[in-house]
């Protein structure tokens, strides 16, 4: 049975999730693809740090040792921040490795360049996990684009913000208290600035824009508002009128191909598809020419949803490569 050799860059929650699922689903993946997936190398920041056992895997803090692995096929990237992730993936593509990333900050900024580089080199990039966690929005948009046209995308793209707004409404908490709870439950980072400022949602919107419309707007033209300015009183007052605040990222294309978008809290009524989206869920509405409005809702984050999205990317890539091989 042929084997696919994989490396994992970054071994935080997401990297560990990939490793776990790859092991738990070994038989299933073999059945689905005909291949055994072997993780040969894991790149970590601090080699001395205690972590889950990974028998037979080389654990290194040196990217050169990853690239020097013989017969490496695919790289899972789960590093945080633009660099060194972009440099690593760009080198990986030039060396002929397929890549699968969960890194939204990196992919929002450098996705267009990486996609172009990948096309030239005949490399596949999986980026389902960069946007809306376990919701298969990337795959759905790709499929839709084959026979349809997307006119507008609206999304609840940051689970932390949505959780905070939900807690403020349901439990009557202040923004600060709700944020503290999100952090206690592991939903928000120690530094939650990117989540509550709207920056995280903005990045995901830029990734969707490139995919759905073939381009991104000039970043500075998009008004980005977070949720931090919403008071407990705002929320309660809205709720009295049966309205709810949702943090919505939105982008649309006009007939001339011009993009416009915005990110911020929006007051919506009970007939809006986002009215019932509570907690850490993400939800996305795609307005299309033929299909009408399609809504996808699911978990916005988490070790297993994110890891699972990356494994699905892997299987798609393996099946593409396999078809090429079988017929060659």
């Amino acid at each position: 049975m042929p084997t696919i050799k994989a490396a994992i860059l970054g071994f935080g929650t997401v990297g560990e999730g990939i490793y776990r699922i790859l092991n738990e689903k070994k038989q299933e993946i073999k059945r689905q693809t005909g291949y055994t997936i072997d993780v040969t190398t894991i790149l970590v920041n601090d080699i001395a740090k205690e972590r889950m056992p990974t028998p037979g895997v080389q654990v290194t803090n040196n990217i050169r040792e990853v690239f020097e692995q013989p017969q490496l096929d695919v790289i899972f990237e789960a590093i945080i921040g633009e660099e060194p992730a972009y440099t690593y993936l760009s080198e990986a593509i030039s060396k002929g490795y397929d890549v699968i990333t969960a890194n939204k900050a990196m992919f929002a900024a450098h996705g267009p360049a990486l996609l172009q580089q990948a096309e030239v080199c005949g490399i596949e990039i999986g980026f389902e996990a960069t946007t809306a966690g376990g919701v298969p929005i990337i795959q759905t948009v790709k499929n839709l684009l084959a026979g349809d046209r997307i006119k507008r995308i609206q999304g609840i793209l940051n689970g932390t913000s949505n959780f905070i707004l939900t807690q403020m409404r349901q439990e009557g908490l202040s923004f600060k208290a709700a944020l503290k709870e999100a952090q206690a439950l592991g939903y928000a980072e120690a530094d939650p600035t990117d989540d509550v400022s709207g920056k995280d949602a903005f990045r995901k919107l830029m990734i969707l824009s490139k995919l759905a419309f073939g381009k991104q707007p000039v970043w500075e033209t998009i008004d980005i508002q977070g949720i931090a300015q919403l008071t407990h009183e705002d929320i309660i007052e809205a709720n009295r009128g049966k309205l709810r605040y949702r943090h919505i990222a939105e982008i649309q294309i006009d007939e001339n191909g011009n993009l416009s978008g915005s990110i911020g809290p929006v007051l919506i009524g009970a007939n809006h598809p986002f009215y019932g989206i509570d907690g850490v869920d993400n939800s996305i509405i795609l307005d299309t020419e033929y299909l009408g409005a399609l809504t996808l809702t699911g978990p916005g984050a988490g070790m297993y949803p994110t890891g699972s999205a990356m494994i699905n990317d892997l299987i798609q890539i393996v099946n593409t490569r396999k078809r090429e091989l079988i017929s060659s």
Copy 2:
């Protein structure tokens, strides 16, 4: 530029939708697949009936003339009822044509046999349009199954029933009056029995069961209830308690691989994802092992959503075949 020759069996709303979209999207499909799609033959019931002009296309009421077309590649099937559709598609597969169907009654009953026949013959079957109209549930389940496992499926799978329940609640109509409105708006058939008895939802559930679990339950073990027994008073009484009736089709698999399911009206509260699904929309919740719960919502029927789903099937099939060709 290579050409794909297609036939359309059945030229009612759905068949006409396919023809329209194939013409409107000719350039786009060529760009996406590299192929020009030409409809060469249309099979109709009554050759004398007035219909939209289809220049250059052979219109016939004789299936033999369809199968005698030289170099036919793919057959779109949009006939109503199990026969003669099943016999036609079975012959099409044995002759080596890929098939794309929107026929849920036929595919619920004969899908398992056709899928097996297609596997033996190396043929692709597209059946996205059989279930939940424009909601890409078939593709989503296929993708999910690659790296995940589905435990339960719940769906609002009949748009007509959902529209009637919505009208009864929002407008205070009786079942009969709401049904009449659905018919006036073209949502319900002249004979709406299958819609309001739950039979239509049952068929779609069986198609999903085969896809998600690899098998269907024994049909007679599933309790099928429709919405006709719900009175205006039931709906208003529920609404007073902030509850809503939804017609839900549900199937689940236990650890031993046993299937159980039911179809009927269910009283749900505001926290249920189906609470806000009004009108002719369909919605499906997939409970999975890794991803958690994923909800898809969109138009359940209509010429363009259904036609668009079939064109997406076509593009998937063409791309699969193309990869085989390119590498061979």
